[in-house]
């Protein structure tokens, strides 16, 4: 049975020429679990909102959306992106009762439904808490539970984990999958973090510029995108990217793309079979240069923290516990680690917002400015131009910076009307107008799609190329592995290990990139999809076509190449 039958739907926002959605035809069957993907601005959110009358945007609509059911308004639940803003009341129990109250249920029914929901979601321990005491993950679970308590048949989720850390995100997606499996709720979800979600879902629908380009099972859909070398492909799970990169090299990779790490490992093993490995190790290209830098000595140090201790409340816990580190000038230093490990606090200590009560941070006369996690927290003017002028009196500087950040066309727009990526660029422009030598970034890729992450990565490369030092903290291991010169892992208020991304992530077994987890056992030091494709190619190429010194195998070969 089809819950939604969308026929030839075209939607145009008022005052726009190009439609946000064009000629969409889609059937949503009862009990489907659909991942809706597409780059930012591809029309995902518009499509989802059109399915929920209360949230449907204004505009010109043609085509048809048919809902098979009694009351579309009640039977379709919607969870939005920001966990914080969606919560209406101050208590967990009151939030749960809010929806049922709106439907006019009596207290006895509400009590029963709430009890049921709380037990199903395992919320007993925080049922009586105030909303402000909850973690981000708990808040988003509360939003989900507060929708599910109204017993919807269809659940629409618009990037529900964009603001969560990876562990809370996985937790949330597991709960969603469980609802689908056990309750039979029809689910439509948009997400950037496809690594975790895609293997859970049954259908994958891809939108591009308002057009539906793929509607397949995840395995087939990803293979289609890989074949077409589509831009959306950058957003696919790392495992799928390794598959596609290997396919590009002409390897016999098979018709079915692996979706998760388990499948990926099986895929690699079936490919390699009993082939004796000629080369199993990726060499660290950047390690040599960095060692040289170490030898140069202290004049190349941009930031030096020595035994710093930070706490927020006089009787509170220490957040940084005797942390020491050195960051070289002109490098991108990335700090990864779990929630509450003190990553953001370290940035605050470096830029002087939260000076340590013991130990000291030396910047050697350099100026450190921080790009905030949420760019909106530094916007307070009417136009982009005013935002930039706030940082400098020089109109020429404003023009130059606007051009550099490709904001020239937007100078008279309101900062809040910019897209997420543009807002980030504007915030960075403000930072750069302050002429920093060191740029600190707090989770620069939070809630971003992969295409945008590449833009952020390019920005970081531009900064380091111009001699600036970048220190970033992130949950995004894949991003750090790709763009950082050196990575460090933070745990319990100190940096536990640091080194090149390859060194750090190849050494880790659990807290590491998907590709590193997938290839451990077969290959060493392979942390990126490219690495796996390269090593696979070298081992699977026919002997005569193999690269130079094919016969010499193993680590030795790699070393010689470097030398």
């Amino acid at each position: 049975m089809d819950v939604f039958k969308i026929e030839d739907l075209t939607f145009t926002y008022p005052g726009r020429q190009i439609p946000a959605l064009s000629n969409i035809t889609l059937k949503v069957h009862k009990g489907d679990f659909i991942t809706l993907c597409g780059r930012s601005g591809s029309g995902k959110t518009t499509l989802m909102r059109l399915l929920k009358p209360a949230l449907a945007p204004h505009g010109i609509q043609s085509g048809r959306i048919a809902y098979a059911g009694a009351d579309q308004e009640v039977e379709v639940g919607f969870v939005l992106q920001n966990p914080e803003n969606q919560i209406v009341t101050d208590k967990v129990w009151h939030e749960m009762a809010f929806g049922p109250e709106n439907l006019g249920w009596d207290s006895e029914t509400i009590r029963m439904r709430v009890a049921e929901m709380v037990s199903y979601f395992g919320m007993q321990s925080w049922f009586h808490k105030e909303v402000k005491e909850l973690s981000g993950g708990q808040k988003q679970l509360l939003n989900l539970a507060a929708v599910m308590v109204m017993n919807p048949r269809v659940l629409l989720l618009d990037e529900p984990t964009a603001q969560l850390d990876p562990i809370a995100a996985a937790d949330f997606l597991d709960t969603v999958a469980r609802l689908h499996r056990e309750i039979g709720t029809t689910i439509l979800i948009t997400e950037h973090r496809l690594d975790y979600l895609l293997p859970l879902t049954e259908r994958m629908v891809v939108l591009e510029k308002g057009r539906l380009i793929v509607d397949e099972t995840p395995a087939k859909g990803t293979a289609l995108l890989a074949e077409g070398r589509h831009v959306m492909f950058r957003s696919m799970p790392a495992v799928v990217q390794a598959y596609a990169k290997a396919r590009e090299k002409g390897l016999p990779v098979g018709a079915r793309a692996p979706l998760d790490i388990h499948q990926g490992r099986q895929w690699m093993e079936s490919l390699l079979g009993d082939v004796p490995l000629r080369r199993r190790r990726m060499e660290d290209a950047s390690s040599a240069t960095k060692h040289r830098q170490d030898a140069i000595g202290d004049d190349m140090i941009a930031v030096e923290a020595k035994n710093i201790w930070v706490r927020y409340e006089r009787h509170g816990q220490d957040v940084l516990k005797g942390l020491s580190c050195k960051v070289h000038a002109g490098e991108c230093f990335a700090i990864v680690g779990g929630n509450g490990s003190g990553k953001s606090t370290l940035l605050k200590a470096v830029c002087g917002v939260k000076p340590p009560y013991r130990g000291r941070v030396r910047l050697f006369g350099r100026r450190a400015l921080m790009l905030p996690q949420d760019p909106q927290s530094v916007f307070g003017c009417e136009t982009v131009r005013e935002e930039l002028e706030e940082m400098t009196g020089d109109a020429a500087d404003v023009q130059r910076m606007a051009e550099e950040m490709t904001l020239s066309a937007l100078l008279d727009a309101h900062p809040y009307d910019l897209s997420g990526g543009e807002q980030q660029r504007l915030a960075l422009a403000k930072v750069l107008l302050g002429e920093p030598d060191i740029v600190l970034m707090d989770e620069p890729t939070k809630g971003m799609d992969n295409a945008f992450k590449d833009q952020v990565g390019a920005m970081i490369h531009r900064l380091t190329a111009s001699g600036r030092t970048v220190i970033l903290v992130s949950h995004d291991i894949e991003f750090c592995a790709l763009y950082a010169d050196r990575c460090a892992m933070m745990f319990d208020g100190v940096l536990t290990t640091s080194g090149t991304p390859r060194h750090l992530f190849a050494g880790n077994h659990f807290y590491t990139t998907a590709c590193s987890r997938m290839s451990s056992g077969c290959f060493e030091n392979a942390v990126l999809p490219e690495d796996i494709a390269e090593l696979l190619a070298e081992n699977l190429m026919p002997w005569e076509a193999a690269p130079e010194k094919g016969a010499a195998c193993g680590m030795g070969a790699g070393r010689e190449e470097k030398a």
């Binding site: 929920k52 209360a54 949230l55 308004e73 009640v74 639940g77 919607f78 939005l80 920001n82 914080e84 803003n85 969606q86 919560i87 209406v88 009341t89 101050d90 208590k91 129990w93 009151h94 009762a97 809010f98 929806g99 049922p100 109250e101 709106n102 439907l103 006019g104 249920w105 009596d106 207290s107 509400i110 009590r111 909303v131 402000k132 939003n143 507060a146 929708v147 109204m150 605050k348 830029c351 002087g352 917002v353 100026r367 400015l369 921080m370 905030p372 949420d374 909106q376 927290s377 530094v378 916007f379 307070g380 706030e390 940082m391 809040y416 403000k430 930072v431 302050g434 920093p436 600190l440």
Partner: protein, 283 residues
């Protein structure tokens, strides 16, 4: 907070109780009554919150009381018995005593309000007024949600601006800027909240109000007992006057009723504790 009787009874009964006790302290204005009330409030506060209630008492209620005494003695010159002259100002005994009584009363009321704020959380107020003023009580709950959000966000913004190198040394302008950023932010983000409310059916006709608490036999007994004791207190004719000279009246029954009324939560909590100890000893 420790286990407590008022926390577990119907919020309407608890609110009525606090209203009666606070009214009694204010209306009687008798030093003995105020002292009894204050002692009970302190005992109850330290039962609920331990040393933190003492911190509130000595850090807030006592200074306010002392200021009251001093202000009354210095600026009120009524009364027949002159104590001493401070320059040209005559300080009368009656004014000092009146100030003292007022201080006791204010301290008692402050401590009762402190106890009430511990017991009567926002959701209980919403329960009490939810049926009479449904939209106002929802607004109240939303405000309680919004204020901490707003405050923490303001901190974030001030910090982000400092880390960006804005507002160097300009505290006032920096603060104003933060307020302007906050306003934009709050308006923008309230769109999300409105969407979330609409998505969950807010605005449909026939909204109900979830009653999280019911009435139990004990609640009614408690309410009735509080009413009887309150009646005895107000009917017993306790009164106190300072000007022109100190006069007071009141009988034993009135004071005993007041003591019983004010000490009721502590006594009931102690009783629960004893029953619990006893039943624990049987396990």
């Amino acid at each position: 907070m420790r286990r407590d009787v008022l926390d577990n009874i119907n919020p309407t009964a608890a609110l009525v109780y606090f209203a009666v006790v606070i009214c009694a302290a204010v209306i009687l204005f008798h030093p003995l009554a105020s002292a009894l009330s204050l002692a009970a409030a302190l005992a109850y506060g330290s039962w609920l919150r331990g040393a933190r209630s003492m911190k509130y008492f000595f850090g807030f209620a006592v200074p306010i009381g002392l200021i009251t005494v001093a202000v009354n003695a210095l600026f009120v010159h009524r009364g027949l018995t002159v104590w001493f002259y401070l320059g040209d100002t005559q300080i009368t005994w009656e004014a000092v005593i009146y100030g003292g009584c007022a201080a006791l009363m204010i301290a008692a009321v402050l401590m009762w309000f402190y106890d009430m704020s511990v017991v009567m959380t926002s959701d209980k107020f919403i329960y009490v007024f939810g049926r009479i003023l449904p939209s106002a009580s929802l607004m109240f709950s939303m405000t309680m949600r919004f204020v901490p959000c707003f405050v923490s966000r303001a901190g974030q913004i001030a910090q982000a601006r400092r880390a960006l190198g804005c507002s160097d040394g300009e505290k006032v302008r920096g603060g104003l800027k933060t307020v302007s950023v906050m306003t934009t932010w709050a308006l923008e983000n309230s769109i999300d909240t409105a969407d979330s409310m609409k998505a969950r059916g807010y605005g449909r006709p026939g909204r109900s109000c979830y009653r999280a608490y019911g009435w139990r036999g004990g609640d009614i007994v408690f309410l009735a007992a509080a009413a009887v004791l309150g009646f005895l207190v107000f009917a017993s004719g306790i009164s106190f006057q300072c000007y022109p000279r100190v006069q007071h009246s009141g009988d034993l029954i009135g004071f005993m009723a007041l003591a019983a009324l004010c000490a009721a939560p502590v006594i009931l909590d102690a009783r629960e504790e004893i029953i619990w100890m006893y039943s624990k000893s049987k396990i």
